[in-house]
């Protein structure tokens, strides 16, 4: 089987698997988010937490629950990291320094999983399992909970009730994330991923050198790391590490897992709003962007190689695992940067300027194709609102989406949402470039060095968490600013999404007529794709021009 055939085959297998999951998973999630029945396990949790399972919340209360839960999570995780040397199963790891603890706590609570540490040499097993892994579950669930509230804003009328955050959170964890992660952890173990409590093992390699290998509960982490679009691995090398993902099969499983919730959520959306076609339109936009991105990165890595070694290898193999090859690496890189996952199986820093630039651009799109769990859907729905607003005017009506009017208030929240992430990315990168010390953290000079910094802030503010590599980010400055970028980039948009949901829920829906802008046709798919690309393109073009664009055009000269 040659590389090209294998490459096409795995893309095909992946797409078929995602397509097969679309309906059942989407419908199941809709069921979880709308049913009135509680499981006994959930009732137990509600009782313990003093939660009224049947009481809905206003948007402001929902938001307060989100923020309070996250604040407690950050504080708890921070303390956990600072005190890990006193705890069980620390396998000899020291306390994590304050700035790095803050960065890591912020990172996992915000579903970013940016790692300024090397997992195998910094974090013990208990913190991994009871600290980081817990956040992997709840931060993913939180995204889905928030999008559920937004969708309820569309479906409900003349109410201020958007559902109950605690119920949504509990159900998503209990009924979706835990069981599926359990199944896939077992699958991964069966396929060769490590799962143990070993400490550091000294190994003598064939050539006689020493290598220190840390074991750990890898497979159980790995499943939720991908399924919840978290991305924070036990090892620094992340999914490139053979303990995490030993072979092409586990690699494909991981890609499937990190895409499947976000690609199925549009089905949930369509089901909840009572019109599956609306969901199909959204998923079509996601799929279109994803497919184009896969094509661009793969083509770049295969063909736009300038070095002789690259030509000999049949493509840009630097920074990629030989056992995955170019096709699998490109597929993973695109999928991980288009979701807010951020796990990596290769190093984007070593990609061709075109391919690496594309991974930055993917994140700049705002994690919407398909994006993080929940956050991808609410991100694209906000852009859909902007698209509908401008296009809706062009059909001669005051704009409406799914029967809800887009008035000043709705546009205020949508505008603030699309404003937030670029502001954080550009301000952060601007500051980093303005200070000489921070500039010095770059590995490379010239446009590539700038790309490293741009990548870091783009990754943090969009809650992706993948690293370009190359940039030394474990400094107090980067730990602090990137930590703040993650928090602002996660929660400020959530504030606007929930406020928007509250505003939408209070409206009386307007009936659909032939004069209403149809939002389920190919026309709208094209329109929304265009808006996504143009809005992002215009915002980031100057910055990109000085990084990847300059670099790749330079190469073509």
């Amino acid at each position: 089987m040659n590389d090209t055939f294998a490459g096409w085959l795995q893309v095909l297998v992946l797409v078929v698997a995602l397509a097969l999951s679309f309906r059942p998973l989407g419908d199941y999630m809709a069921h979880i988010l709308t049913t009135t029945r509680h499981l006994w396990a959930e009732r137990l949790i509600y009782k313990a937490g003093g939660v009224h399972g049947d009481a809905d919340q206003k948007w402001s209360v929902y938001l307060r629950s989100v923020l309070a839960f996250s604040l407690v999570s950050v504080l708890f995780l921070y303390a956990f990291l600072r005190l890990q040397n006193h705890l069980l199963l620390s396998v000899g790891m020291q306390a994590v320094p304050p700035d790095q603890s803050f960065n890591t706590a912020a990172s996992f609570v915000t579903n970013t999983n940016w790692q300024s540490y090397s997992g195998e040499s910094a974090i013990g097993h208990l913190v991994q399992m009871a600290g980081l892994a817990v956040q992997n579950f709840v931060s993913a669930a939180m995204g889905i909970a928030v999008v559920a509230a937004l969708v309820r804003g569309f479906t409900r009328k003349k109410t201020d009730q958007l559902g109950n955050f605690w119920v949504d959170l509990t159900r998503i964890v209990v009924r979706l994330l835990l069981p599926v992660s359990l199944v896939f952890a077992i699958v991964l173990v069966a396929a060769g991923t490590v799962q143990n409590f070993h400490g550091v093992n000294d190994i003598i390699t064939i050539s006689g050198g020493h290598q220190r290998l840390t074991g750990g509960p890898v497979a159980s982490q790995e499943a939720i790391k991908e399924f919840g679009t978290n991305g924070g691995g036990l090892y620094n090398a992340n999914s490139a590490h053979p303990f995490e993902s030993p072979n092409a099969f586990t690699n494909l499983i991981e890609i499937y897992l990190l895409l499947v919730i976000s690609f199925s959520l549009p089905r949930t959306f369509g089901k909840m709003v009572g019109d599956h076609r609306q969901g199909y339109a959204i998923v079509a936009v996601m799929a279109l962007i994803w497919a184009a991105s896969v094509a661009i990165v793969t083509a770049n890595e295969l063909h736009s190689v300038s070095s002789a070694a690259g030509h000999a290898a049949g493509g840009m193999m630097e920074g990629k695992e030989a056992r995955f090859g170019i096709w699998s690496s490109a597929l993973f890189a695109v999928s991980t940067t288009l979701t807010s996952c951020g796990a990596v199986n290769s190093f984007h820093d070593s990609y061709t300027p075109g391919g690496g630039g594309m991974t930055i651009f993917n994140m700049m799109l705002g994690e919407i194709a398909p994006g993080g769990t929940g956050s991808g859907l609410y991100g694209i729905l906000i852009l859909a609102i902007v698209a509908v607003f401008v296009a809706g005017l062009m059909v001669g009506r005051t704009p409406e989406y799914l029967g809800k009017k887009l008035r000043g208030q709705e546009m205020k929240y949508a505008s603030l949402y699309i404003l937030t992430t670029p502001a954080v990315v550009l301000t952060g990168a601007g500051l980093a470039m303005a200070f000489p010390d921070e500039r010095a953290a770059m590995l490379n000079s010239g446009p590539h060095g700038f790309s490293e910094v741009l990548y870091a802030f783009t990754s943090a503010a969009n809650n992706n968490g993948s690293a370009f590599a190359g940039l030394s980010v474990n400094t107090v400055w980067y730990n602090t600013t990137l930590g703040l970028a993650m928090i602002v980039g996660r929660f400020l948009p959530m504030v606007f999404v929930l406020a928007l949901a509250g505003s939408l829920a209070q409206q009386q829906p307007v009936p659909v007529t032939a004069g209403t802008l149809p939002t389920h046709r190919p026309q709208f798919v094209g329109l929304l794709t265009g808006v996504v690309l143009i809005v992002v393109g215009l915002t980031y073009f100057p910055a990109l021009a000085l990084g990847p664009v300059a670099e790749s055009l330079e190469g073509l000269r």
Binding site: F389, P422, P447, E551, R557
Partner: protein, 706 residues
């Protein structure tokens, strides 16, 4: 034509003439108007005014910054950019000033009519009394409830209702329509407007408005824009534009550290130029100039926007869907009578009938059977029997030497009784004809005859039936089809019985009808539609329409209507043409489409500007970026100057479009969207590439601009 037996409907006259394929559009822009508005545009550069428009305020701040920079380190390039930036600000103000200038001219005319009116107040006037004391007071001194007398040649001093008399009034000051209108006490034509002129007769008017709050006062405020508030959708759009502006500001401000790292520090002038090129100046400048065209006065911008959103149109049958009156459409004789005989008899019986129905019978007889009209004088021994509410028929008794011929024409039951009373027996086919006409929604008029020789008895007989029908205006069916394609449901409101209503509704092609409609029924219908979230528009002129006008989302009151109706509605049609309602919907849509189109155009423009400016900024350090200079612009300075010049000139170029509105053809939303995206999206993408390249061909020759 004659073979069908049905005459072609008379060509529509009067207000309906304007209906034919008339599409909404504003006036063309007079270039002189641009010049006239120039001083206003300069005055508006005051930052306190500019700050209300965030996009253009940023441009002005940028212009100030480049001016300072150009003074500090003068260069041709800096001054060129500075000049263009100031021009951009002025052009934006010019758009607004032109829009306001139009209103000002109107307001000026209105004010002239208002100032010097003296009123002849009748102190202690009571209906029926003639001995009230008359006193001269200034028009502005009139109070609510005062009575004034106005005679031919005088100006009506304030808004009010005619309580005595009838007069023809020239309302051209408000409507621009020179044909006088009749105003009379009682009924729905009693309202008069201050500032209009009585042409004949004498009326007594009861003042219904406080001084300073008359209709003219409010109109002046509206057209001058003093009372113009931003509409909800304008606010929403402004928010989006402001946030785009902020995004681009951040993108450019943070570009400097990136540029420094690349060792390509940018001058303030270039950075300002980039910001101005990127922020949506086109729509930012033109938004306030996009207004409504047409002789409709909206009491709020909200109403105009609501008009674009309307789901259901309530249309009065009479005057909107049909020509005002029923017309004779066919003569249907009974067995044994020829059509010509019936037509002749019908004509004879209608000679003295001055009602529109009567006239139409004469016309039909002439058109179809070439029976020339006979005048009353021609028939020497004729005695005309006028129509009365009791007899419900009219006719003529013709007497010559041999016999007396009596003809009667009227309601079926009345004429049949008359025939029986005169010894006749209407045959069964009369009943069939009558029922057939009724079932088709028409009105049957039965024609009866008795020929009585002197001193002899003779039996009366029925000659036949005249088919009277409502004539649907030409082009209405197509119009309603268009509305349906636009997703708008039309409901015909009529006082007719359901049978008649259904027939006319079918013929006109409306979606639904409300027969035997009372004001309560109308109200209930509006409420029912609104419950489902639909927006309802209607027209009205009577006082009993007022509650429904107030309840409707878009209530267009006729200017000739009562003041209660005008108060209740949120728009007043100065032409008093009920068909305007359809146009109002189109105007609302056109307004919104223009906004959307210019926004799309404005944003799409940015792509070309990037391709002009980014290579100009950085190709020096990263020569690869010169590949982005696909327009092959002459030099960096020329490229940036051209982009900024294009940005300024496109505003002026689009002022007429903003004032007039984009072309609008009723069709489904999907089709409209496709059309506008291709036109303004793709056009906005391509046009600036051409424009900037052309400008560059000229600008590169500015001496000193490297």
């Amino acid at each position: 034509m004659s073979t069908t037996g049905v005459p072609a409907p008379a060509p529509p006259t009067g207000p309906s003439a304007g209906l034919q394929r008339h599409r909404v559009s504003g006036g063309l822009l007079d270039p002189k108007q641009l010049l006239r508005s120039f001083p206003d545009a300069l005055r508006k550069l005051d930052p306190r005014t500019m700050v209300h428009n965030p996009v253009m305020f940023v441009v002005e701040v940028g212009a100030v910054l480049t001016t300072l920079s150009a003074i500090k380190t003068p260069s041709v390039f800096a001054w060129v950019i500075t000049a263009w930036l100031w021009l951009t600000s002025v052009f934006a103000n010019l758009a607004e000033a032109v829009a306001e200038g139009r209103g000002k001219a109107q307001a000026e005319t209105l004010r002239r009519t208002k100032t010097t009116t003296m009123a002849r107040r009748l102190a202690g006037w009571q209906p029926g009394t003639a001995d009230a004391v008359e006193e001269e007071v200034p028009g502005a001194g009139l109070r609510l409830g005062d009575h004034v007398v106005v005679e031919a040649g005088q100006i009506i001093p304030g808004d009010g209702d005619v309580v005595e008399g009838v007069a023809s009034v020239d309302e051209s000051a408000i409507t621009g329509e020179s044909a006088p209108v009749i105003r009379e006490s009682g009924g729905d034509r009693s309202a008069v407007t201050g500032g209009t002129k009585v042409l004949s007769d004498r009326i007594i008017v009861k003042i219904t408005s406080k001084p300073g709050e008359t209709f003219i006062d409010r109109m002046i405020a509206l057209v001058e824009g003093a009372a113009r508030q931003k509409t909800p959708n304008e606010i929403a759009l402004n928010i989006l534009l402001a946030s785009l502006t902020i995004v681009f500001l951040i993108a450019v401000v943070t570009l400097q550290p990136f540029a420094l790292f690349a060792r390509a520090e940018q001058s303030l002038v270039v950075l300002v130029a980039l910001v101005v090129a990127l922020i949506p100046t086109t729509i930012g400048a033109l938004l306030s100039a996009i207004g409504i065209a047409g002789n409709v006065l909206a009491m709020s911008g909200r109403a105009v926007e609501a008009a674009g959103d309307v789901n259901t149109l309530l249309l009065d049958k009479t005057g909107t869907i049909t020509l005002g009156n029923r017309q004779a459409a066919a003569f249907l004789p009974v067995e044994g009578v020829t059509t010509e005989e019936l037509a002749d008899a019908s004509q004879l019986s209608s000679i003295a009938d001055e009602t529109p129905e009567g006239r139409s019978i004469v016309v039909l007889a002439k058109q179809q059977y070439a029976l020339r009209g006979r005048s009353e004088g021609e028939l020497a021994q004729a005695e005309f029997v006028p129509f009365t509410a009791q007899s419900r028929m009219s006719g003529v008794d013709l007497e010559d030497l041999r016999e007396v011929r009596s003809l009667r024409k009227g309601a079926a039951t009345a004429v049949m009784r008359w025939v029986r009373d005169n010894g006749g027996h209407p045959t069964a086919d009369v009943g069939h004809l009558v029922d057939g006409i009724s079932a088709s929604g028409g009105t049957p008029l039965v024609v009866g005859e008795v020929i009585r020789p002197p001193d002899a008895q003779a039996a009366a007989r029925v000659l036949g039936v005249i088919h009277l029908k409502d004539v649907v205006k030409e082009g209405m069916h197509e119009r309603f089809d268009e509305l349906r394609r636009m997703g708008i449901k039309t409901v015909m409101i009529t006082g007719d019985n359901p049978l008649t209503a259904r027939a006319i509704a079918q013929e006109a092609g409306v979606d639904d009808f409300l027969a035997e409609a009372t004001p309560e029924d109308k109200m209930a219908l509006i409420r029912r539609e609104q419950q489902g979230g639909k927006l309802v528009a209607m027209t009205g002129d009577g006082t009993n329409d007022a509650p429904a006008l107030a309840q409707a989302d878009v209530g267009v009151a006729m200017n000739t209507g009562t003041s209660a109706a005008k108060e209740a509605g949120n728009m007043v049609d100065l032409d008093s043409n009920p068909t305007k309602l359809i146009e109002v919907v189109e105007i609302g849509k056109q307004l919104l489409i223009t906004r959307g189109a210019l926004t799309t155009f404005s944003i799409a423009n940015d792509v070309a500007k990037y391709f002009a400016i980014i290579p100009a900024m950085f190709a020096g350090v990263y020569p690869g970026l010169d590949k982005l200079n696909i327009m092959r612009l002459h030099s960096p300075t020329s490229a940036i100057s051209s982009a900024i010049a294009f940005n300024a000139l496109i505003i002026v170029a689009l002022i007429p479009l903003a004032l007039r509105g984009v072309r609008y053809r009723p069709s489904s939303a999907a089709k409209l969207l496709s059309r506008n995206i291709w036109m303004y999206g793709l056009g906005g993408l391509i046009l600036p590439f051409l424009g900037i390249k052309l400008l560059d061909l000229v600008i590169q020759f500015i001496p000193g601009l490297r």
